[in-house]
Symmetry: C2
Subunit: 195 residues, 2 copies
């Protein structure tokens, strides 16, 4: 069993509404040992794609994204949820991202300066559920005339439609861990084979 599955089984807590909390090593407290395994696995899968940039959304995607960027030795770019005071609206690529948990839509943005037509972008995120954040990033990359070289996800909730939506766009999604089902009553997690 992989390092990430082991940690999920040991430390994951399941809440009603398919919420899996793995805050102790992935997205509040972060174990650099887990990050090193993650960056290596993504590198092994995506290293032949001539990646020029790693991209994610703040905040919980930043840690895996910068570690992956360091492994590929390319810049990491994260979309912000609030427009910095120094960034004019016309200087940014933006996308609307709907949050199913919060039931609100927010705008994410990156400065136009940091993406160009020659870029082959690897999108990295901690979780994939409905795929809203990833779809927003895909739209931004395409608005810039750049190419999405792949999408690397730490933990995919395979019972939610995110992966299907991304694959319909012709994208290569690689998830380190795929979860088939979670059961809050019995605190039971079933993994799905493959990546």
């Amino acid at each position: 069993m992989s390092y990430l599955k082991e940690r999920i089984l040991e430390e994951g807590v399941i809440y009603p509404g398919n919420v899996l909390k793995i805050d102790s090593f992935l997205n509040h407290q972060i174990d650099p040992g887990v990050m090193k395994e993650i960056e290596k696995e993504f590198y092994d899968h995506f290293s032949d794609r001539r990646i020029t940039k790693i991209m994610t959304v703040e905040a919980s995607g930043i840690a895996p994204a910068i570690m992956v960027a360091a492994h590929f030795d390319v810049p990491m770019l994260f979309a912000k949820k609030k427009k910095p005071s120094t960034l004019k609206a016309e200087e940014a690529y933006t996308a609307e991202v709907y949050s199913y948990t919060k039931q609100t839509t927010s705008t994410v943005m990156v400065p136009k300066d940091y993406l160009n037509k020659e870029d082959a972008v690897l999108i990295i995120d901690d979780f994939l559920a409905n795929g809203e954040a990833s779809m927003g990033l895909v739209q931004i990359v395409r608005d810039a005339g750049a190419k999405v070289a792949g999408i690397g996800i730490c933990v995919e909730k395979s019972f939610q439609p995110g992966r299907e939506r991304l694959e319909k766009e012709g994208l290569d999604v690689y998830s380190i861990v795929r979860i088939e089902s979670i059961d809050s009553k019995n605190q039971e997690i079933k993994f799905k084979e493959g990546h």
Copy 2:
């Protein structure tokens, strides 16, 4: 001249109100080469302190903090600005942080589970100006009965009172770059000697 000073002079843009934008390599797009230099410099300075944890505030502190954590091989913990739905109020350490640019106060929090009395915490942040975020983290570490082993800052605005406030608390502040003054009219930056 150090790598970080060079990049600031080459790519930094100054806006009125002492705003220095170095988004192209430090806190929107992030250059992993700069991160590797930063993590090494902090390690060289703080490696004798028996650091058990690296701590920062979301979002722009996360990238340097996880890189430093990987170098020290200890967990990284970041304070969140919004309470996760899975975290009860009594399960978190909190601190109020005032933002001078936004003129608003926000509450930052970390789960109590992730700090304990034995921890020696190195606080990492991208910028130090008025010191509000760092002071909030110091309070949280002390509330947990843990020790602040030091504060590592990428870019310090030495003409603002953050460093003085932290040193009054008896804390060791190490800044990779110290800025003595910035002049938006002439786009001129003066560095201050030392760390």
